[in-house]
């Protein structure tokens, strides 16, 4: 072999990395430049539009979440308030009628405070109301009860039993029920309500789920690509998920749900400027994903649920497409990922056993999924998977 060629090949294939201190020194020198540059910027302030855009986006999201939270809170508060008003109005009316019969003004024996445990209070009031009505009817009849007798009837009512939706009265023997708004409902309706409550509040269910997601492989490159000044133009990217879901109610308001997505697609496309033209580049990643979430009803029997949980995912394969040409990049990415899930669900009860769930869920990957390659160490392309999922699930309650 010719000496020159051999020498060139040996030197250029050097396998020795320069010590880290060299890069540190380079940075130090550049920092001095940077400080001077910043001083210049301070003297001539220019608008940092990129930063402002981010602040605007973050503020909009916060505003949206706050508005949604306020709306749900107000709805719940209004419901409670209406119930309280009905309850208090009914209470005073009942006291007046009782005073008229007995000749004594006496408050009803209801333990709860006016706006606390409204449902319970309303139930008790209605029970008294009905009792007073019965006494009024008997007072009008020749065999009517004496006032002493009336008191004894009131005293005979077991208040602790009022915690049930159906209230059994000692006399006259009738079944009364109330709904959440303290309205009287018939015995037939009560059976229906009981059935529904069984479905809504109890059970173990299994189902199928599918999701459509707006995904983002968030790294330095795709983040910079959101700015107008960059040579990279980050594009909206989408993926689908299919899987099965298993759910179990663990308390009156809380369900635990385990979802296995057989396929969970994550992708990112962007255009970049190469040799005088924009070239489309995309990364497609397929994961198998396991998600454990707790869903919390915002009110008893409410179809609205807040969801929070964790996920773990296993990378099946990853491909990169540049200008229509694809290649596998599975080795460049970590085999696993994990992160947080938060969202909102709305459950439609289709029948006594079938329920249809719709929801919107945000996933935030906590791990850097880029494992690095010969040219680019992992830390230089720190990549987190972020996605917003629109989900649909069909569940069957096999145990109630």
């Amino acid at each position: 072999m010719e000496l020159e060629k051999w020498y060139k090949q040996k030197i250029e294939s050097n396998t020795e990395d320069p010590p880290e201190k060299v890069w540190e020194e380079v940075q130090n020198a550049l920092d001095i430049d940077l400080v001077w540059h910043r001083v210049g910027e301070e003297l001539q302030p220019t608008e940092n539009t990129g930063k402002k855009t981010w602040i605007a986006v973050a503020a909009s999201i916060l505003l949206l979440i706050a508005a949604l939270g306020a709306f749900l809170y107000q709805t719940a508060l209004l419901q409670k308030s209406e119930m309280a008003d009905v309850s208090i109005a009914t209470e005073s009316e009942t006291i007046q009628r009782l005073t008229a019969i007995t000749g004594q003004h006496k408050p009803l024996n209801i333990a709860s405070k006016p706006r606390e445990n409204i449902s319970h209070r309303a139930k008790q009031t209605l029970m008294y109301q009905d009792e007073v009505r019965a006494m009024e009817m008997r007072a009008e009849s020749p065999s009517g009860l004496t006032t002493t007798g009336m008191h004894s009837i009131i005293g005979a009512v077991d208040l602790s039993a009022a915690t049930d939706i159906a209230i059994a009265l000692a006399s006259p023997i009738r079944q009364y029920s109330i709904d959440q708004n303290a309205r009287l409902i018939s015995d037939d309706d009560l059976d229906n309500i009981r059935n529904n409550e069984t479905i809504m509040q109890q059970g173990t269910y299994l189902g199928l789920s599918m999701q459509f997601a707006n995904t983002w492989l968030r790294n330095e490159k795709t983040a910079v690509g959101l700015q107008n000044t960059s040579l990279v133009d980050t594009r909206p990217s989408f993926g689908k998920s299919f899987g099965v879901v298993f759910g179990q109610q663990v308390s009156e308001k809380t369900d635990l749900k385990l979802a296995l997505d057989i396929i969970s697609e994550k992708s990112q496309t962007y255009n970049e400027y190469v040799h005088g033209r924009f070239v489309s580049t995309g990364i497609d990643m397929n994961y198998t994903k396991l998600t454990l979430t707790a869903s919390y009803r915002l009110a008893p029997n409410s179809p609205h649920r807040a969801v929070a949980g964790l996920y773990g995912a296993y990378l099946v394969d990853a491909s990169q497409f540049i200008d229509g040409t694809g290649e596998s990049v599975t080795r460049d990415y970590s085999k696993t990922d994990f992160g947080l899930v938060a969202g909102y669900e709305y459950i439609h009860q289709l029948s006594s056993r079938l329920q249809l769930g719709t929801g919107i869920y945000a996933n935030y990957g906590l791990q850097n999924v880029f494992a690095g390659n010969e040219q680019l160490p992992a830390y230089l392309n720190r990549t987190n998977l972020l996605s917003l999922h629109f989900g649909l699930s069909l569940g069957y309650a096999f145990r109630q």
């Binding site: 072999m1 060139k8 294939s13 396998t15 320069p18 380079v26 550049l30 910079v224 400027y273």
Partner: protein, 182 residues
């Protein structure tokens, strides 16, 4: 060939914007090869090679806006590394030493196998034995492909000196790199 995540255009643009992340991407991509070149000029002195590499990359980043994109980015960086290395060697001493006297011509090394068994470290130690001037000339011609005219202009010597120094350096290296018969 594997496509890189970061293209040269993007890196250059980022470096011009003083984007530290893309500056590091550029550094990591080219530092190893450029360090090898610096070692060739520094003659196995790692401290000196590191100084060369450091100064060279600072120049690269400071002058990135002058890269016109016509040639390869690596070629442009390499030119800066080479020039920086020579400048540093020149600054070390005003006078650049050359090989004095004739070098006896011996038969070339026995072939590919003999050369391929020599480690890079030994090559660098060997090249370090050359006087500084001959070492620069050998590197500029063998590594960078400079003509003797270009070398002469760069080092402010005559093309004849460049030719003769190169020839002597080559013969010396062959002698030193030949495995001993014992």
């Amino acid at each position: 060939m594997r496509q890189e995540l970061y293209r040269d255009e993007e890196i250059v643009n980022g470096c011009i914007r003083n984007d530290r992340h893309l500056q590091e991407v550029l550094y990591r991509r080219h530092a190893r090869k450029m360090y090898g070149i610096c070692l060739g000029y520094a003659g196995s002195s790692r401290d000196l090679a590191q100084d060369m590499l450091q100064d060279a990359f600072v120049k690269v980043f400071r002058n990135m806006d002058q890269y016109d994109g016509k040639g390869s980015l690596e070629g442009w960086i390499r030119r800066i590394v080479t020039n920086t290395s020579i400048d540093i060697l020149r600054k070390q001493s005003r006078h650049i030493e050359f090989i004095q006297g004739e070098v006896p011509i011996k038969q070339e090394a026995s072939g590919e196998d003999a050369l391929s068994q020599i480690a890079t470290k030994d090559i660098l130690n060997t090249i370090a034995r050359l006087p500084k001037g001959a070492r620069i000339i050998f590197n500029l011609h063998a590594l960078e492909g400079y003509s003797h005219q270009e070398i002469a202009e760069q080092l402010e010597i005559s093309p004849g000196t460049s030719k003769s120094q190169y020839s002597r350096a080559r013969h010396l290296l062959q002698q030193w790199l030949q495995p001993s018969d014992s």
